[in-house]
């Protein structure tokens, strides 16, 4: 009996020290990745989008040859500073809960005379393809830098959207039977080297929500929350999440509310 017990103890010790070594490797890997992220923080290409977005905000465009400067983003017509912190929110003029991108679509239609199809066309830029939407999002988000998120659910439609967003977050579907919660609903989850934020946890939600939009190095583009949600759906093999759909806005509102108080620091720079 004794040799067996010693062997078992040795085996356990071996596994324990290997486990510790692995944990240490993971820590130093995390530290190096943190170093990588810090090294990129100064000199964020998103500034190029912010500059372009500010020009587009002021440029007379569309059939009505008007600028977006009278657009109400939630704090009154033309108020850009701080607007990102109150979105998504209910707007009386459309009777809907809107996020930043849907609000920009609303204004492009109402102020500039574009059709909804024209305003929603090509929302996400690509190699060699510059689109107005992500530049406008970058500019408007940058004008809320340093300010805390405060979305309201006082209005019944906002409450309804929040509840819908929460349901969607936990809704399992698609060929992998995934929900957002499958990756983002518990502590300590990771995909390869990416630590996944637990978006039901306010601290993680704040960190995550306040760093979108972001310049995604792997995309070479500034990406918004609409893009982020659309891409999550793609990765879950869900049907496409339509740009500015009520479902996308509901999810955004749920996440923004969980990130209550988080200080905006966007556009950020991410892998």
């Amino acid at each position: 009996m004794r040799p067996k017990r010693i062997a078992a103890a040795a085996l356990a010790a071996g596994i324990l020290s290997a486990g510790l070594a692995l944990a240490q490797d993971k820590d130093s890997t995390s530290r190096q990745i943190e170093r990588y992220r810090e090294a990129l923080a100064d000199g964020n290409p998103a500034e190029l989008w912010e500059a372009r977005g500010e020009s587009l905000w002021k440029e007379k465009r569309g059939p009505k040859a008007a600028s977006l400067e009278r657009c109400d983003l939630g704090l009154g017509p033309g108020v850009v500073k701080g607007a990102y912190t109150v979105l998504p929110k209910y707007f009386a003029d459309t009777g809907k809960v809107e996020d930043l991108e849907s609000r920009l679509v609303t204004c492009m239609v109402a102020l500039q005379g574009f059709t909804p199809e024209q305003a929603k066309k090509d929302p996400f830029g690509g190699p060699g393809k510059k689109v107005p939407m992500d530049a406008l999002v970058a500019y408007i988000a940058s004008e809320s830098r340093g300010m805390p998120m405060h979305v309201s659910i006082a209005n019944p439609k906002e409450r309804e959207a929040y509840e819908l967003g929460r349901q969607i977050f936990f809704y399992r579907g698609g060929p992998h039977d995934f929900a957002c919660a499958s990756c983002h609903g518990a502590e300590g989850k990771r995909i390869r080297l990416q630590d996944l934020p637990n978006l039901t946890n306010p601290a993680d939600a704040r960190r995550a929500y306040t760093t979108w939009p972001a310049y995604r190095v792997s995309q070479g583009e500034v990406r918004s929350m609409q893009w982020r949600l659309n891409d999550c759906f793609r990765q879950q093999r869900f049907p496409e999440l339509e740009f500015t759909s009520p479902a996308s806005i509901a999810l955004s509102l749920y996440l923004a509310r969980t990130a209550e108080g988080g200080v905006m620091d966007a556009p950020a720079i991410k892998r």
Partner: protein, 104 residues
Amino acid sequence: MADPMKIRATVVGDKVEVKVLMAHEMETGQRKDSKGAIVPAWFIQNVTATVNGKTVLSAEWGPAVAKNPFLSFRFAGAKAGDKVVITWTDNHGDKRSDEATIAA
């Protein structure tokens, strides 16, 4: 015409530190598009920085410089109020030149 660069030049001690962000695709010529065709190489080949007519940096780049390039460098012999001019030319013959005033 390419998008403008973002240039920041500040006095740091007895030197001037310049940080510049350039808007450029920097295509390597290795990437394939969604139809499987190679996207041709398109990248900045030459960069020059001048202050008061003097070249303070020049560079030859290949497509391995990252997209939307960031560059920072330091030089002596200029003061706040002087202008830094940065010019790039790419392999298509496109050119872009921007300037910034050195801040104290």
